[in-house]
Amino acid sequence: MSTTQNILRPAQRTDMAPAESIPWVRYALSTLALLIIALFLILPLVAVLFEAFREGVGAYVDAITDPYTGHAILLTLITALICVPLNTLFGIAAAWCIARFQFPGRSLLTTLIDLPFSVSPVIAGLVFILIFGSQGWFGGWFAGHGFPIIFALPGIVLATMFVTLPFVARELIPLMQEQGAEQEEASIMLGASAWRMFWTITLPRIKWGLLYGIILCNARAMGEFGAVSVVSGHIRGATNTLPLHVEILYNEYQFSAAFAVATLLAGLAIVTLIIKSIVEWRQQRQWENASS
């Protein structure tokens, strides 16, 4: 599907002179836009904090320091620590072959890389159950050898890798296509080995785009709910990630505790957005340099 174009990159900002328009239209639209932002984006963030501290700081600290919460944090970190580096390597490899070479099946491959964006996370979880579940193709074999995949860490990792697969590749492919191959060709012409070329030319030129993709990949890996929920089995203290822990607490009517844990994830989102803005700013400068 060509519809999944690179929507993750916001427009490059060139602050233009204020459009000449009727003042009341401008004020009305600006107010409306800020209202939409406030109502749909800011209010939820404020509400998370408010609900988290509704029963006081003590209850908040208790919820955060609960051993089950600690285990969920650990599991979430482990999952991200496995998925993000693997998807980074995948993204670089995919971008290299797609942006630098012509080969039959290239556009099919691009479509397949995009596919996880348009598949429901629940279905992403389901397919791994079909393969590795107790009635699945290989599930019996793996479980029989003491290495269960579903309702265990490997399943969580697989489901997370599926939903985060496109992030780094989608960021790098348009960037590398835009940059063109000339500098890499020049590097090879000057006698550099493949390895030298990658470290001295390719990587420095894509580093901001790469970082951007990694941040988004990480946010999704740590926050994924649907796909992980299907394969994890919600075993407290064993296969419970942070988002799943939020759900369990909420469904047990421990609202304050649920929101307390949710502040951790909201904090992750805020940090992600901040780093993202910085990276965007750096990247924009780099693009301006490259095109000047």
Binding site: P10, L29, S30, R100, I131, L165, G223
Partner: protein
């Protein structure tokens, strides 16, 4: 052609890694979905899909995803328009916040929206006074999907707005058009493909969305049960064939929708002569 010999190194390695990973994570799992469904007879297939509860879930998912994506066309256009064209204090911060739905885990979005829109919540109480229930109804689902879909529309429209040629507007004004006419006839046509793209992305995401919806939906069969939840329910009942068939059907339907929208998009592009 002469791919076997190229100046740049690493083709074999990078293609190998890519194809291996894509096969393992995407191709084989989706094939599993298809082959598992194919194990069912046509009768069983029909029986599963024609179930009233299943049909109702599809109706709920489609109508809410469509309504949310449609409303996002307007909300997203207004936000993008203001962010690109008007001077605003703290513009960078507002702009960064647009991506919050991408970055905020869906479970968090789900519980906080539920709390806000429940009958005694900050926003829900106003609706309650008007006699409107938001949480635990399709309206609540739509609200959650608006939250999830907003950045798709804003982020696809922004770059196009950015690139619009100011001189065309000035030309339109100089030829005597009113501001509304200029907007309708000069500005809107080039935005249509981007709006359609944003719509289809938001719609596709809305069809599959799970985390942010299940809390606010109330999940009443026939009324506010969405397709992804139905799949999970079937799974929890160990009804794997049922889950698989519904999953495949929703994938197929989603792709058909995307194809239609894609075609529509190309058609508008050709008509307006823009790329």
């Amino acid at each position: 052609m002469s791919q076997r010999r190229s100046l740049l190194p690493g083709f074999g390695l990078s293609l190998g890694v890519t194809v291996f990973t894509v096969s393992l994570l995407v191709l084989i799992p989706l094939l599993a979905l298809v082959t598992k469904s194919a194990e069912l007879s046509l009768g069983e297939l029909w029986h599963t899909l024609a179930d009233r509860r299943v049909l109702a879930a599809f109706r709920v998912s489609f109508s809410t995803a469509f309504a949310a994506a449609f409303l996002n066309l307007f909300l997203g256009l207004i936000v993008a328009w203001v962010l690109v064209r008007y001077p605003l204090p703290l513009k960078r911060a507002w702009d960064s916040l647009i991506d919050l739905p991408f970055a905020l885990p869906t479970a968090v979005a789900g519980i906080v929206l539920t709390t806000l829109y429940s009958p005694n919540g900050w926003l829900g109480q106003f609706f309650a006074e008007l006699g409107i229930r938001v949480a635990f109804t399709p309206l609540g689902i739509t609200i959650a999907l608006i939250f999830i879909g907003l950045p798709f529309v804003v982020r696809t429209v922004e770059p196009v707005l950015q690139d619009l040629d100011r001189q065309q507007e000035e030309a339109s004004t100089s030829l005597g058009a009113s501001r509304w006419q200029t907007f309708r006839r000069v500005l809107l046509p080039p935005l249509v493909p981007a709006l359609l793209t944003g719509f289809s992305l938001a719609f596709a995401r809305g069809l599959g969305e799970y985390g942010s919806v299940i809390f606010i939906a109330g999940n009443m069969p026939m009324k506010s049960e969405i397709v992804p939840l139905l799949i999970v329910t079937k799974l929890e009942q160990y009804n794997y064939p049922g889950a698989t068939v519904i999953a495949l059907a929703s994938l197929v339907v989603a792709f058909v929708m995307l194809l239609i929208i894609n075609g529509l998009q190309q058609w508008t592009r050709q008509r307006t002569g823009r790329d």
